[in-house]
């Protein structure tokens, strides 16, 4: 029995997809491993991604006080320049929901009541999932000294503020020394990303890896750290562990390139 190094997609399934099949699968998968290790990088990505999306949705519901207007607003965010962001994904979901005429099963039948019911459910989930994040695995590993893990705040106006979502910008990324000391691993990771990939995240990851390999004396800033994304998991996953992710498409090749393995829940 090996250990599992929990990637952001699985953390998301566990924390903010209550009652879904993915939540059940992820919860069951944890039992397959002797230890489940949660890197703080996952927490950082989760906060800046899905949790931020939920906060946006919460704030939009509070602002419009209308469920249907919120869905309209979110649907309108589907623009080409926003491809691959979680908001774009949410917009696609909102469009599907509108098309299917599915009604949110909240309290009250009026639009404003549905908005409030949905908003309160989101607020509750945002706060509870944040509190749970460090208690769902056997260990939290790879702390990030340059990242302040600040809890979501609710302002007096009722709006959520998730800042800071990034590491401090005035210093080099705390992961830099380890990354820079293993050039061969970086080269292997670079080789695992198709050169001709049209995906923006692949291009950014390749660029970040190239810079680390060719210019190790340059400062690795927070943008580079963010662009490395999935490569961070393959790099830092302990040899005795597997990367546990729902995104095998990206993680399988990266993990394999450095002699590790990625598994699905």
């Amino acid at each position: 029995m090996s250990d599992a190094y929990i990637e952001t997609t699985v953390l998301t399934d566990i924390l903010v997809k209550p009652g879904s099949r993915k939540h059940q699968r992820a919860t069951a998968a944890f039992k397959r491993y002797e230890n489940t290790l949660l890197p703080v990088y996952s927490i950082k990505e989760w906060k800046a991604g899905p949790l931020d999306t939920f906060a946006y949705l919460h704030n939009k519901l509070l602002f419009t006080k209308s469920y249907s207007q919120t869905l309209n607003a979110v649907s309108a965010l589907t623009r080409p320049y926003q491809k691959s962001t979680s908001i774009e994904a949410l917009a696609a979901a909102a469009t599907t929901l509108k098309a299917s005429q599915k009604r949110f099963a909240g309290l009250g039948g009026h639009d404003d009541e549905m908005a409030d019911s949905f908003r309160l459910a989101l607020a509750s989930l945002i706060i509870r999932s944040w509190r749970k994040r460090r208690n769902i695995t056997t260990r939290v590993v790879d702390e990030l000294p340059c990242y302040v893990e600040a809890a979501p705040r609710v302002g007096k106006d009722g709006y959520f503020d998730l800042k800071p979502k990034e590491c401090a910008g005035d210093q080099e990324c705390c992961l830099a020394p380890q990354l820079k000391s293993q050039t061969k691993l970086l080269e292997a990771l670079l080789g695992a990303i198709p050169k001709n990939s049209g995906r923006r995240e692949d291009q950014k990851r390749r660029q970040a890896l190239k810079r680390l390999i060719k210019h190790p004396n340059q400062i690795m800033d927070r943008e580079m750290c963010r662009d490395l994304g999935d490569a961070i998991f393959a790099f830092f996953c302990p040899k005795t562990a597997v990367v546990l992710t729902t995104n095998l498409r990206d993680h399988a090749a990266l993990a394999l390139s450095v002699g590790k393995k990625a598994e699905k829940p």
Partner: protein, 195 residues
């Protein structure tokens, strides 16, 4: 017993109104906290920091014909708490569930009073989803007690903060109730499949 037999609010509040003058003459003779049941006022008297805490029904006295959300919420909460008390006492699972259903029926009316505060709204909303996710399965006795405890607390502090409300939602979760709408998970899942 059916829940309509429990009918404190207007009457009890009215009684308290009539006793209002007594508050000025209550003796405070020791350093211990005393509770004046008839007037609904308790006193914590510790030197110069003496405080009086006023019973919630006293604080929100109902004027005849009053329709304030707070009065309405306190009334509905009282009825729900009484129903849950009956459910806890009941030896028959069917009677117990019947009483719990009264609480479920009151939730939309309670939700209509959500302008009291987000803590209030979160608790009522969480209870709604807890019932919805049970899909008709009756609450266990432990769950009935948890809901009873939480509603009592809510009635004492109806204007609690969002964070305090979420703590109570966590209590519901800890006794095995699923307090989140499955639609939330669906929404993110749909978004992923749409990508």
């Amino acid at each position: 017993m059916n829940d309509t037999a429990i009918n404190i609010p207007q009457k009890r509040i009215h009684e308290i109104v009539r006793q209002s003058e007594e508050t000025t003459t209550l003796p405070i003779s020791s350093d211990e906290s005393t509770f004046a049941a008839a007037s609904g006022i308790s006193f914590d008297t510790v030197g110069a920091t003496a405080r009086a805490s006023i019973d919630i029904d006293r604080l929100y006295e109902a004027a005849p014909g009053s329709t304030s959300q707070m009065i309405r919420a306190l009334e509905l909460l009282k009825q729900s708490i009484d129903s849950l008390s009956e459910a806890r006492k009941s030896e028959s699972p069917m009677d117990s569930d019947r009483n719990v259903q009264n609480v479920q029926l009151a939730l939309p009316k309670l939700f209509a009073c959500r302008s009291i505060g987000d803590g209030f709204g979160v608790i009522i909303n969480s209870l709604h989803f807890a019932f919805a996710n049970l899909q008709g399965t009756p609450l266990t006795s432990e769950q009935v007690s948890a809901v009873w405890r939480i509603l009592r607390e809510l009635r004492t502090r109806p204007a609690m903060s969002l964070e305090q409300g979420v703590l109570h939602a966590e209590e519901l979760e800890n006794c095995g109730l699923e307090v989140d709408p499955c639609d939330l998970g669906d929404l993110l899942e749909r978004s992923e499949s749409a990508e």
